[in-house]
Structures are given as structure tokens and as C-alpha cells.
């Protein structure tokens, strides 16, 4: 068994493509830990080098997980934002100014979002649950974490429907409209989105209850996850960047 990989064990008759699938990935626990590190790093850093280093490492992590499209997409968004901020530094126009302030904030939280995107797109709900269970995390903590993971794609799906619906109703979410009446636009997206999500949440919990999610029995798992060399390497690299950020880049 290759270390650092998840080996999907299959002891039944192999009738499906599932038998002995190798996926190159970091342990879900490591990903959660790195997410925390990235979060703190981007919060305290005020050094462009540190930021670039952080983005570069997340990109490498994405490439390692074979999420090539995700990597390219995020790099493009980040360079676009950086370029806009750079170009508009000396422009004195209210709308452009507002936009650059928004973008500066977006840039600050961008690494966290980028890593979260990687975490969600490369971790299965079952893997996350089982790896957290392996370190004896109580259900009360595991289940909310997993539910949050489960909800991101749902938000994406629901938003598609809402944006379409708004377009049909003649409400256009163009950049100009967003700047002109931001509160109205937020209302038109958020109100239906929250309504939909609360319905989904209730139905989902009801379904989970009928599948024994409340059970007192010790939960088992389809997967066996374990730490490998890549977990250590990635953790060390991201931690080094955190220390770099703490010292203000003054090494």
C-alpha cells in the first residue's frame, strides 16, 4: 500500500470499478489543519512575498491532487485581482475606489477560499468522517464539519436556479447593478437562497435520522485513512510560511 494515499479496501466480490482504487491525496485531517494554518497566515501577513508563497503552495497542493482546472482557475482569478488593484492604485474615482477596496478584502481571504475549494473538491464525505473518527472526534463535532462540506455544492446548485429565476424575472446581476443597489441585489439572492437552504437542511436531517445518524453505536467507515510522507511535507511547508508571516517576513 502506498503511504499517504487512500486505499479503498474491497473485500467483497469486485463487480464494480471500485476494487482497489488508488487516489493520490493528503489525509483529510491534514487538510483541515492546513486550512487553519492558511487562515491564520492570511490574517496576519502583510508581506507580498508571504502571500505569493502561500498561493504557490496551495497551487502545488492542487496539482498534487490532480485538480488542474481548479489550479488554473484560481491562479487566473488571483492575478486578475492583483492586477486590478495595482492598476487602480492611483485612479481617483469613487466607483473604482470602492471596487478596489472590495477586491483588497477579497484578496485577503482568497488563500483560505482557495484551500477550502481544494479541501471540498478532493475529500469525500465518508473519508472526512472516518479520518476524524480515527482520532476519536465526537460525533457532535464530526457531523457539523461534514454537513458544512456537504452544503457547499448544494449552495452552488441552488444558486444556479436562483440566478436563472432572477434573470427570468428581469433582475440582472450585472456589476453596475450590484454597485448601484447592493442591498437590493443581496436581498434578491440571499432571501430565496436562505429559504431553499433551510428546506434542504430540514429534509436532509430527516433523511439522515432515518439512516441512523443519531445512533449511539461506534461508527465504522468504508475507508481506512492514514498519514504519509506528503502529509508531513505539506504541513511543514505551510507552517514555515506561517512563521514567516509572524516574523513579518523579516528573516
Amino acid at each position: 500500500m502506498i503511504k499517504g494515499d487512500v486505499y479503498i479496501q474491497n473485500t467483497g466480490k469486485s463487480t464494480t470499478a471500485l476494487s482497489g482504487v488508488y487516489r493520490r491525496m493528503v489525509d483529510p485531517r491534514t487538510k483541515l489543519f492546513i486550512l487553519l494554518i492558511v487562515n491564520i497566515t492570511s490574517f496576519i501577513q502583510n508581506n507580498i512575498l508571504c502571500e505569493i508563497f502561500c498561493i504557490a503552495m496551495i497551487t502545488i497542493a492542487m496539482l498534487y491532487h490532480r485538480s488542474y482546472r481548479l489550479a488554473i482557475k484560481n491562479l487566473l482569478i488571483f492575478s486578475g485581482m492583483a492586477l486590478f488593484i495595482l492598476l487602480t492604485l492611483r485612479v481617483e474615482n469613487t466607483i473604482v475606489g470602492m471596487l478596489s477596496v472590495v477586491l483588497m478584502m477579497a484578496r485577503k481571504i482568497f488563500p483560505t477560499f482557495m484551500f477550502a475549494a481544494l479541501l471540498i473538491s478532493t475529500t469525500q464525505v465518508g473519508e472526512m468522517t472516518s479520518s476524524l473518527q480515527a482520532i476519536h472526534t465526537p460525533r457532535q463535532i464530526t457531523i457539523p464539519i461534514v454537513v458544512i462540506m456537504r452544503f457547499f455544492p448544494t449552495i452552488k446548485e441552488e444558486s444556479k436556479g436562483i440566478l436563472d429565476a432572477a434573470k427570468v424575472r428581469g433582475i440582472h446581476f450585472t456589476l453596475l447593478n450590484c454597485l448601484k443597489a447592493p442591498n437590493q441585489i443581496i436581498e434578491y439572492i440571499m432571501v430565496p437562497l436562505m429559504m431553499q437552504l433551510s428546506v434542504v437542511a430540514e429534509e436532509l436531517s430527516a433523511a439522515a435520522v432515518t439512516k441512523g445518524i443519531d445512533s449511539d453505536k461506534k461508527r465504522t467507515s468504508l475507508y481506512q485513512t492514514r498519514f504519509g510522507a506528503m502529509d508531513i511535507i505539506f504541513t511543514l511547508l505551510f507552517s514555515a510560511n506561517l512563521i514567516f508571516a509572524f516574523t513579518g517576513g523579516g528573516i
Binding site: T11, L18, V125, G126, I162, D164, A207
Partner: protein
């Protein structure tokens, strides 16, 4: 043990803590092992509540006041622990989008077993047994969001099946399915029945259960008011069935309803050599040309994934065509002008409501001056009999009222064409008739109506002509008449 009933209820009453008007009253029911019971009745009649008692969601999840004796597999409900009950009773719900906890299919099938602490080797064995028994190997290892509605319901059954329950409880499992998927559902239910499973199923769509159900129970205001054996139910007169608001049991008995005859065609929306592709994928619609008459209600039918909804999205200006043209009343309608003029009424009206009051919802779409707005809005609401709800919050309306409100918004933004996506899914006969009356009224007002539908009864009742979409092109386009009836029935039942 063998002579015990699978489900037994004696003088059961239940009131929801949150909605005291709904609940169950004086339910007496005993279901033998291996029996299939079909629960039917109007929305809010209590059939869903009854299924919730059997799977333990009442009173554990939906709180309220419950009394009476309930025995599941001979054991009093108060003695069942909810997690043990989930190995005895498997549940399938109405909405496929919200019943999966995992994001991939294999994990979802194993999910219940994991929760109940079954060993890993055992879980894999069960997953393989489930996929073999239900013949769903093709669904393994897929992303949940890539499944069709029908596949999702199969998966829901499979994930319940993996826990090895003797009793299956299904709450309107077909309401989001097309005719083809409904037939697949029928096959799986037949298989469960052969295995001797007890099935309790709440449904509006009845025909697909004709060979499976042993008894039919009709509920009204929380009570069981009629009970038939399947054979007796087959001979219930059409008159009585319609009085009870029930859908057809045998689709071949459904007749074409006579309608106002207007032979003269009026030019409405038409398309010429239309092709649509998503990004660089193969085109979904290929070179479609057809002209739909303005004064006819057109049904767009065909299996899911064949291009129906892409066609509708393109007409509404949500998806841009690659080549081809769209015309309305013989003038070309470019892509940008279509959105809003050709108004899409989505299957789930909740997406389309944005305002905090019913009248505000209509005013949002009106382009007149402020003074006129209130008057015009009220006029439109009255036209759709929503006037009395003007000040209410849209979310406090019933499903049908919400649907009418989204249509009201369409009229307010002076749409010429209304395209309705599955307006009758999950509706009983009386509500289907309401939609029928509404569409007739809109037609009279001069709106062109196009309906995407899987509902054979509705097509027979309301629609004037049919566009059949298959593999991205128009397979057939015809008026509904006696000659075409058999062909249509074939499409809806035998696919």
C-alpha cells in the same frame, strides 16, 4: 412471530407542535407482512404524516402530541430505538435533491451501515449485494449531482435496502420523475415485493402501482375514509374517482377531453434551424425547426436528457443558441430580447419569488408609474384569484398559489409567451384541473402557452398539440386526436 402484522395502529392521533391544523385522527390500520399499501388523498390529507409514524420521524424528529398504540413488527414504537428502527424500516422521500448525505453514490449506499457500526467487510458485502439485487451497477462511484432524478430515487431505495429492512416507506417517490424513470421505479418496487418486503407508499400518481399495490387507502383531513382492495379500486367509477380528486389507475382508460375548437392557427413562437451546445460539448439540440401556434397549448414531451429543458431555456433566453433563429409573430427575437418576454415558470416556484409581499412581487415586475402600479398589480392578482392575499408574504402561500403568483409576475412584465416546466408534477387530479382552468384562461387572454410535461393525463386534458423531442431533434409534431392517442400512451407508459 410470523403471524404478527408488520405494522399495526390502533386509535392513533397525532398533532404537530408547529402546525396544529395538520396531523392524524383516529387511525386504525394493520398491514400484513409482504403487503403493499398505497396511501392517497389530497395534499395535506395526512398521508405523509402516516409514513412518518412508521419510520419513527414522528415523534422523534417532528414533534407533537401522539397517542394510541403503534406496533412495528410486533413491538411497541416506544420500545424501538430510532437507530434500530432504521434497520427495520427503510425510508425514501419525495425530493431527490435533499435526501443524500454523501456526495458520491457508493458512500451513500454504505452510509446507514457506517452509522450503525457494521464492520467494513460487511458493508462492502452489503453494497455489492444491493447493487446486484437492484441491478444498479451503473450508478456506482458517481457524483450525486450527476445523477438524473430517476437515478437519484433508485439510489435512495438502494441506500435504504443496504440496511436490510423488512418494511419500506416511500413518500411520493415519483413526483419529480419522468415517465421513463417512473417505470424503472415500478420495476424496483416489484422486486422488493417479490422479496416479501412490506411496502407503504404515499402517492398521487397511481397508475404505476396498479400491479403492485394490494390495498388502496384514501385519506382526508387526517383520517382514513375509504379503503379498497386493489381489485375493488380498479372498478371504482370515473365519476367517484374524480370526485375524490384522484389520478387515473389505468392510463389506457384516460380519454381526450373535448376542448374549444379553434382550427385556425395563429403565428406564435417559431424556431428555425436552432442548434444549442453547452461550451464545447456535442450539441444538445440539433437543427430544430418548428412553428407553434399562438392559440394552442403546446406540450413538449420526451425523456429527460433529450433536450426538452434546453429547448425551453433557449426559448426563454437563459441559454444562448449557437446557430439558428427564434421568431415571435413572424418577427425575429434576438437572444437578449427573449429573456422576460418569453417567461419561464419553473417547476419549483420558490426560486422565483423575491419580494416580501404578494403585491410587491407583482409590482416588482410592473414598468408603469408608481400610482398606476398598485392598481395594475391588484388587477393582475384578481385575475389569478390572488387578490385576497395581496399583503401576505409569498412564502405563506400554498404550492399552487405560489405557482399562480409566479405567473402573475410574468403577466406583469407583459410576457407574451409562458413556458411552464412540469406545472402538474406532484399534483392530484383536482389540482391538475385547477392548472388546466388557469392555462385556458391565460390562452384566452392571448398568451401563448408551452408546457414541458411528463403527465399523460394532463396532456390528454389540456394540451392541443405535442412536440416530441428525442436525441436533440424533433421526433414528431402533431395535434392531439384519437389517432395519436395510442402513440402517446406508448410513449408515456412503455418507454
Amino acid at each position: 412471530m410470523n403471524n404478527l402484522c408488520a405494522i399495526k395502529m390502533k386509535n392513533v392521533n397525532f398533532t404537530y407542535a408547529s402546525r396544529p391544523e395538520e396531523g392524524l385522527q383516529d387511525i386504525n390500520l394493520s398491514v400484513q407482512r409482504g403487503e403493499c399499501i398505497l396511501l392517497t388523498g389530497a395534499s395535506g390529507c395526512g398521508k405523509t404524516s402516516l409514513t412518518r409514524i412508521v419510520n419513527g420521524l414522528i415523534p422523534h424528529f417532528y414533534e407533537g402530541e401522539l397517542d394510541g398504540d403503534i406496533l412495528i413488527d410486533g413491538q411497541d414504537i416506544t420500545n424501538w430505538k430510532l437507530d434500530e428502527l432504521s434497520m427495520k424500516v427503510g425510508s425514501v422521500f419525495q425530493n431527490p435533491r435533499s435526501q443524500f448525505f454523501n456526495l458520491d453514490t457508493t458512500n451513500e449506499i454504505g452510509f446507514g451501515c457506517e452509522n450503525l457500526g457494521i464492520s467494513r467487510e460487511q458493508i462492502w458485502k452489503r453494497i455489492h449485494k444491493t447493487t446486484a439485487d437492484l441491478k444498479i451497477g451503473r450508478l456506482m462511484d458517481r457524483n450525486i449531482f450527476s445523477l438524473s432524478g430517476g437515478e437519484k430515487q433508485m439510489l435512495a431505495i438502494a441506500s435504504a435496502y443496504a440496511l436490510g429492512p423488512d418494511i419500506f416507506v416511500l413518500d411520493e417517490p415519483s413526483s419529480n420523475l419522468d415517465a421513463f424513470a417512473t417505470n424503472q421505479l415500478r420495476v424496483v418496487l416489484q422486486k422488493l415485493k417479490q422479496e416479501g418486503k412490506t411496502i407503504l407508499i404515499a402517492e398521487h400518481r397511481l397508475y404505476y402501482l396498479a400491479d403492485i399495490a394490494d390495498r388502496v387507502l384514501y385519506m382526508e383531513r387526517g383520517r382514513i375514509v375509504h379503503e379498497w382492495s386493489a381489485k375493488e379500486f380498479g372498478s371504482v367509477s370515473k365519476r367517484q374517482r374524480i370526485d375524490l380528486g384522484l389520478r387515473a389507475w389505468d392510463l389506457s382508460q384516460v380519454k381526450i377531453e373535448p376542448r374549444m375548437n379553434c382550427d385556425k392557427e395563429m403565428p406564435g413562437i417559431s424556431v428555425e434551424r436552432l442548434s444549442v451546445a453547452y461550451q464545447k460539448n456535442a450539441p444538445i439540440l440539433r437543427n430544430i425547426s418548428c412553428a407553434m401556434s399562438k392559440n394552442k397549448i403546446t406540450a413538449v414531451i420526451g425523456r429527460n436528457g433529450q433536450g426538452k429543458s434546453t429547448f425551453a431555456r433557449c426559448l426563454c433566453g437563459l441559454t444562448k443558441e449557437n446557430t439558428g433563429k427564434v421568431f415571435f409573430e413572424e418577427t425575429e427575437q434576438p437572444y437578449k430580447h427573449r429573456c422576460g418576454r418569453n417567461y419561464l415558470v419553473m417547476q419549483d416556484p420558490n426560486y422565483q419569488l423575491f419580494s416580501d409581499s404578494v403585491i410587491g412581487e407583482v409590482e416588482l415586475s410592473l414598468r408603469s408609474s408608481k400610482k398606476e402600479k398598485a392598481v395594475n398589480a391588484l388587477e393582475i392578482l384578481n385575475f389569478l384569484s390572488l387578490g385576497e392575499f395581496a399583503e401576505q408574504h409569498p412564502m405563506s402561500l400554498s404550492g399552487g398559489q405560489k405557482q399562480r403568483l409566479t405567473i402573475a409576475a410574468g403577466i406583469a412584465q407583459s410576457a407574451d409567451v409562458l413556458i411552464l416546466d412540469e406545472p402538474t408534477s406532484g399534483l392530484d387530479y383536482s389540482n391538475m384541473l385547477r392548472v388546466h382552468v388557469l392555462l385556458e384562461k391565460l390562452k384566452e387572454k392571448g398568451k401563448q402557452i408551452i408546457v414541458i410535461t411528463h403527465d399523460y393525463e394532463f396532456v390528454m386534458n389540456t394540451c392541443d398539440c405535442v412536440i416530441e423531442i428525442k436525441g436533440g431533434s424533433i421526433a414528431d409534431y402533431y395535434m392531439i386526436n384519437m389517432e395519436k392517442k395510442d402513440k402517446l400512451l406508448e410513449i408515456f407508459v412503455k418507454t
